[in-house]
């Protein structure tokens, strides 16, 4: 080590110097306090021996000056003293000394102390190095998190959460703790919402939200059903998330034309279905394991359906609200939440009030702000043109001139929804993008008629009663599982005409058909919700052939006539 000895006594200084050199150290000497400070700055020793009584500047003063030198990492100071009073010795430590040796010096003691301090210096240097390393890693981590946040914000955007019929709360903190809120308008005009809560905190929790939101928006845009979306999300999360990480969620489709909500909850706290007219709250329980747990082979998504009119509201929250604690560690709890909702059932905005209630409850206990809340009313001002404001810059005519068909038989009718496939193919002709909603409506209507009424023989009159919806969809689900030889064949013929094109849809089914003329005469309110009038409104022509087992619908479009 490099050692500095400051002692005005030549004899003592000489002896100590020789003892230290004999031990293999490099020694510099100072004969008074001032020289000691100078030599310290110049020599930067690893350890300093200081005599207490020196002229110019005594040992205490020297210690005070050099101990906190900003250019020097920690070093020990050993006082040399023949003073024996306890108070004198204590003062050595008080002024920044780390030890003292009494005079006359004993070389064995000197050596032992030097060894001990050398170990301490090594320890200190190791810690300082590691601290530097930790800081570098920490800076990297922070940078990575910032980058991740930016990507996240671009992908997992809020969709249509800012619509008039939605109130919500989602903080940056809760996003980064794995909470997710998504909302989109489907091509049908229905509203699809999702509230997710990934296990864990920080980046590992938030990262699951990226594929989830991609799938949500991607599939919804293409008109995939809720069941398909849920299955695909589970498959993706099952494949990519590490063990122990999963997503508790609530997903729902609210259809303003059907006045119906399809609901699915997995591992989430109860959601609340409010009927403002009856002043009633129905608790919607979770009935599935969270997403990402079950293998796709055994995963099933069974939706629950309920009526949903202008008098209804859906409220859902992640467990942050119920689990908020006050200063005594007592939870807010489900009862308090339900009580608040019951007391404010007709309030326009329950969300904000509930949050204030929770914040007051938490009080000074401070909060992690892990509170995510969604309140959805009847979406009567849905903008179905939202999806047409796309960022696609490359306008190509793609599939402007094509013909293709698909025949689904037996269990494929149960397991596969062909509509997104058709829609995607047709819309490769980008000029049709503004017509997306209409084309989707026509296709869905024709296909569902063929499947529900043609093949399955279901009576849509069932859907007009409030329990009827559930019964109808139960019968539909049951009927689909029994199909063996039935089929639905969908053909699409897209022909260019001047300034636009002509889409010819032909859908044939293996059903019994129906009395076409009779239905037409009665003006046909028979079919589900919208019925023939809607098809006739959207299409240039609709003709039923082959005893009602085949329908041909023609949709003509003009590039100068953009639907609003």
């Amino acid at each position: 080590m490099k050692l500095l000895i400051a002692d005005d006594n030549n004899t003592e200084r000489l002896i100590l110097s020789r003892v230290l050199e004999n031990l293999g150290h490099e020694v510099t000497q100072a004969e008074n306090g001032l020289v000691a400070v100078e030599k310290f700055n110049e020599f930067k020793p690893d350890l300093v021996f200081l005599d207490v009584m020196m002229p110019e500047m005594d040992g205490y003063q020297v210690a005070a000056q050099i101990k906190h030198h900003k250019d020097k990492s920690w070093f020990p100071i050993i006082f040399l003293t023949s003073l024996t009073e306890a108070s004198d010795l204590a003062k050595c430590i008080d002024v920044g000394g780390d030890d003292f040796v009494s005079k006359p010096i004993n070389k064995i003691i000197i050596r032992a102390k030097l060894d001990a301090f050398e170990r301490l210096i090594n320890l200190y240097n190791t810690v300082a190095e590691q601290q530097k390393e930790i800081k570098v890693h920490n800076d990297h981590l922070v940078q990575e998190q910032e980058a991740a946040k930016k990507v996240f914000n671009n992908v997992a955007h809020r969709g249509c959460l800012d619509s008039d019929y939605i109130y919500y709360h989602l903080s940056a903190m809760s996003i980064f703790n794995g909470d997710l809120l998504l909302a989109v308008v489907l091509p049908t005009g229905a509203l699809r919402v999702m509230m997710g809560d990934f296990t864990g905190h920080g980046l590992p929790a938030a990262i699951g939200a990226l594929p989830t939101s991609e799938i949500f928006y991607g599939m919804s845009k293409k008109g995939f059903s809720l069941e398909d979306l849920i299955k695909e999300t589970n498959t993706r999360l099952y494949n990519i998330l590490p063990r122990g990480i999963f997503c508790c969620c609530v997903i729902a489709d609210i259809n303003p034309s059907d006045k119906q909500i399809k609901f699915w909850s997995a591992g989430a706290p109860d959601a609340y279905l409010i009927d403002k007219e009856k002043e009633d709250v129905t608790l919607l329980h979770s009935s599935h394991l969270a997403l990402g747990i079950l293998s796709p082979k055994v995963f099933k998504a069974k939706l629950q359906s309920y009526p949903f009119t202008v008098n209804h509201k859906l409220i859902t929250a992640t467990d942050g609200i119920i689990e908020s604690t006050d200063k005594n560690d007592k939870m807010f709890g489900e009862k308090r939440m339900l009580d608040y909702i019951n007391q404010n059932i007709c309030s326009e905005n329950i969300c904000d009030g509930l949050l204030e209630e929770v914040e007051e409850y938490i009080g000074e206990a401070g909060q992690d702000d892990d509170l995510s809340l969604l309140e959805v009313s009847f979406p009567d001002t849905v903008e179905s043109t939202q999806l047409t404001k796309s960022t696609e810059q490359n306008k190509t005519r793609g599939t402007a001139d094509l013909e293709f068909s698909l025949k689904l038989r037996g269990q494929s009718l149960n397991e596969f929804d062909p509509i997104p496939l058709f829609l995607q193919t047709i819309l490769e002709c980008n000029e049709l993008l503004p017509h997306r909603t209409r084309i989707f409506t026509v296709l869905t209507e024709l296909y569902n008629n063929a499947l529900d009424h043609g093949v399955l023989g279901l009576d849509s009159a069932l859907k007009s009663s409030s329990n009827g919806f559930a019964e109808y969809y139960q019968q539909r689900a049951d009927g689909l599982t029994l199909l063996t030889n039935d089929f639905v064949k969908v053909s699409v013929d897209h022909q260019p005409i001047k300034n636009g094109g002509k889409l010819i849809f032909i859908i044939a089914d293996s059903g019994k058909g129906f009395d076409v003329e009779g239905i037409m005469k009665r003006g046909s309110q028979v079919y589900s919700g919208r019925g023939l009038p809607l098809l006739l409104q959207l299409c240039t022509s609709v003709d039923y052939l082959d005893g009602g087992t085949k329908v041909k619908a023609v949709y003509e479009w003009d590039e100068n006539d953009i639907p609003d």
Binding site: T11, R18, S82, K107
Partner: protein, 117 residues
Amino acid sequence: MTRIPDSNVIDVETLNNLAEIMGDDMRMLLDTYIDDCTCKVSEICAMSLETQQDDIFRMAHSLKGSSRNIGVTEFADYCSEAERLARAGELTVNDFDPDSIQLLFNRAVSELKNVYL
């Protein structure tokens, strides 16, 4: 050593240990000690008991320190006692006078020279 020193004046063991440490520089060290202390003894002898108790304390402390290191025990003991009393401001001519200190120092130097130089 050419002869064993008077054990009242010098501690042989200390001197031997020091010789081990200093090796060939033992003479240089003893010369340094003698030169340093000769000056300091002159200075201390010239100090006033009435007004310079503090100065006497410091000088006696220094003389004691060097002497202990060398093993000059008789002289060191005398300086130690003077240091203690002077620190408290209680040093009197009974415990400290120039003649005595000079005598003891001379005795010590003489023994050292006989032993080593």
